[in-house]
């Protein structure tokens, strides 16, 4: 903008300016890719494709920079491009010196791009003032409008830039306006501009003249140490336990369900639950940054494997507890790399599939759970190979004939692999056992569904509330256990007449269907086989995320009660059965294990299609 305020300084959306802003973003992506590629070359991978990719990145930056007359960027990228062009196709590993130089140059590129993208830049010719878009709140327009009033200097105070690695909200910049002290010798124009601005500032400022009037973003925010919130969460959890103990004591004193005391305790519980929800919301964050990270992982994986991948997401606004998001990063990364490396075929065109593989990552809330799904349209699961490998490794008894879904589930066994070669990207084998362990530690479940030739879907379900669970307390085999209430369909007495033996298991005739029935204590290994007749059965809904699942029934000795429990993790417990989701302290002070019914009865899935 010219010094006299004329020229194109008025607020308007300049499409070329937007393209330039997007160019800087594209440069950052290229530079990131270059840094990753150089990193891999530094590790000793001599790959022509990597050098090719580096060349093209430098070339792209040069092309765009030339279009926007950014001489320093053009010179540097051109120089790098020349060097990379010479290395292309040579087939030999790049010397350490040359590599170092490239790394340094990439850093310099990054610095140049950062400088250009963050501050107002006058195009050579001095006509147009372009401001980087400050999060789309119209701040750029505001600053431009201010600029028309008089000479304006815009400075970035880096101290106030949000720390993305701490998960700060990146889109809440604060604009601070300083009215500069009047110049000793103001021009008439400056004096007039000042005269119109001073009343506005004096009205807004309450303190000394040197202070500023901060422009707040619509919702004031506060930064809190995560530890403090964890403490809050624990305290709320203790409140729930204490309430349960109080209720127990009240019951022991003979106070009935209609007594005033019980009514007050119910109120207490309701308030505690509301408090707990509130604290959970403090920690809940949109899963979007994790999805962005996965998109980047997918891009890297695609580049590394030379495959073309389209990465789609949905449900980015789904809120998940912050600590859960952090712990999901590793298993999701593994799943994404797996899908691209092993799932997507290298010869898709020959199979009549689009050259571009599709990866879809979705998140949604569903009855108290967060459900994440990663699906690809790749090769699906080769059940024959999986079965053969499982038998070869002795994971199955010779007489076992697993269903299709059970074969798929074999992939979650430790150390399982159907690949002979170690992939550079995702290492030996599938490694889904690590994924499952991590998810289980979060109190969740993971299931896999592979359609041969069509693709694979991995589904993770996590409890929304880590701390408190709606539960049913039962007794089985002389011990007390806790089952999540979600999924329990109904309770009934087992009628001997409706029990039948089918193959190696037993089924219960229920509502016109035959559903598998299991003795819970027997499944947990805490009691010998015994009669089921006359005992209580809980029918469990089929696992909603598992298309092959069917309902089944768990037989217990007794139902104690139905209420909320506080979930305590058992991360340090060694050799925990896969069915144990955690533990809790009951009202009487005893410790009870929380059991995942779906882990107890994987064999309850009945596969429709014969293998």
């Amino acid at each position: 903008m010219a010094a006299d305020g004329s020229g194109p300084g008025a607020p308007r959306r300049d499409p070329m300016a937007e393209i330039e802003a997007s160019f800087y973003l594209e440069c950052e992506e290229h530079i990131e890719a270059m840094q990753d590629a150089l990193g891999r070359l530094a590790e000793g991978t001599a790959d022509d494709d990597i050098v090719d990719a580096l060349f093209r990145a430098a070339h792209s930056i040069k092309g765009g920079a030339a279009a926007f007359d950014l001489a320093d960027l053009v010179d540097l990228s051109h120089d790098m491009e020349d060097r990379l062009g010479a290395m292309r196709g040579s087939g030999t590993a790049i010397e350490a010196d040359a590599l170092d130089r490239l790394l340094q140059d990439t850093d310099r590129l990054s610095a140049l791009v950062a400088r250009r993208g963050a501050t107002p830049e006058a195009r050579s010719g001095g006509e147009t003032l372009r401001l980087a878009d400050l999060g789309g709140t119209g701040d750029a327009d505001l600053l431009a409008a201010l600029g028309t009033l008089g000479p304006t200097a815009i400075r970035l105070d880096a101290r106030s830039v949000p720390r993305l690695d701490r998960g700060d909200d990146p889109f809440a910049p604060a604009l601070v306006f300083h009215l500069a002290p009047p110049p000793a010798d103001p021009t008439p124009e400056e004096a007039a501009a000042r005269a119109s601005l001073v009343p506005a500032f004096e009205g807004a400022t309450a303190a000394a003249p040197a202070s500023s009037a901060p422009l707040q973003t619509p919702t004031p925010t506060i930064r809190v140490d995560l530890d403090r919130i964890d403490t809050l969460m624990n305290l709320v959890g203790e409140l729930v336990i204490t309430q349960a103990m109080l209720a127990q004591s009240a019951g022991a004193l003979g106070l009935g369900a209609s007594s005033e005391m019980t009514g007050r305790l119910d109120d207490f519980l309701r308030l505690t639950r509301a408090l707990q929800d509130g604290v959970m919301q403090i920690r809940a964050q949109p899963i979007k940054p994790l999805f962005h990270r996965m998109a980047r992982i997918a891009r890297e994986a695609a580049a590394a494997t030379g495959k073309r991948v389209r990465f789609e997401t949905s449900g980015q606004a789904t809120e998940v507890d912050k600590t859960v998001i952090e712990r999901l990063a590793e298993p999701l990364t593994h799943m994404v790399r797996n899908a691209i490396d092993h799932g997507l075929e290298a010869d898709r065109a020959a199979r009549g599939k689009p050259a571009e593989g599709l990866l879809r990552l979705t998140a949604r809330h569903r009855s108290g759970q967060v459900v994440l799904q990663l699906s690809d349209d790749g090769a699906g699961l080769d059940r024959a190979t999986i079965l053969a490998r499982a038998r070869a490794r002795g994971l199955l008894r010779p007489d076992e004939t697993p269903t299709g879904a059970e074969i798929d589930a074999l992939l979650f066994r430790p150390g399982f692999t159907t690949r002979d070669t170690v992939s550079d990207l995702s290492g030996r084998g599938v490694g889904l056992d690590v994924v499952r362990t991590t998810i289980q530690q979060l109190g969740g479940r993971v299931a896999i569904d592979g359609q041969p030739g069509a693709g694979t879907t991995l589904t993770i379900s996590l409890p929304l509330t880590l701390a408190v669970l709606d539960a049913m307390i039962v007794r089985a085999g002389g011990a007390t256990f806790v089952l999540p209430l979600a999924g329990i369909q109904e309770t009934m007495l087992v009628d001997g007449a409706s029990l039948m033996t089918l193959g190696t298991g037993r089924v219960l005739r229920h509502q016109g269907r035959a559903i598998p029935v299991l003795d819970m204590a027997l499944a947990l290994g805490s009691a010998p086989p015994g009669p089921l007749d006359g005992r209580i059965a809980l029918t469990i809904d089929p696992d909603a995320e598992d298309p092959a699942a069917r309902p089944f029934a768990l037989v217990v000795d007794d139902i104690v009660e139905q209420r909320q429990v506080v979930v305590k993790g058992l991360q340090d417990a060694v050799g925990c059965a896969t069915a144990v989701m955690g533990a809790t302290i009951l009202g009487d002070g005893a410790v009870a294990l929380i059991i995942d019914p779906y882990e107890l009865a994987p064999g309850a899935r009945i596969d429709e299609d014969p293998r």
């Binding site: 499409p15 070329m16 393209i19 997007s22 160019f23 594209e26 090719d52 990719a53 060349f55 093209r56 070339h59 792209s60 040069k62 092309g63 765009g64 030339a66 279009a67 926007f68 007359d69 073309r308 050259a355 571009e356």
Partner: protein, 121 residues
Amino acid sequence: MALNILAVDDSRTMRNMIELTLSEAGITTHLADDGVNGLEVLDGIDPDAIITDINMPNMDGFGFIDGVRSQAKHKTTPILVLTTESAPEMKARARLAGATGWITKPFDPEKLVRALKMIAG
């Protein structure tokens, strides 16, 4: 006369700029981000002319031009190569592959539009 153009370039910035320049001249632009994608998009449209970059991942400009020229209905579709490379060998190679013309980046918007209207009109 509304022209229909296919532009193939792996740089998002370039694609944006081409689209902006051409749309301001009343030309409809279809975009693709590499040679493979370009051939896919080409299948669905009937461009009056094609603009392509040379350096692209998956399939470069030469491969793309080959692919275009191998199709009977595109034997004579005008192809303009838009690239920073200006070496004579590159130009010759592009000509051999079947390119109609050559424009260097950074391009002058008016020149690009004039060139397109000339070869496609």
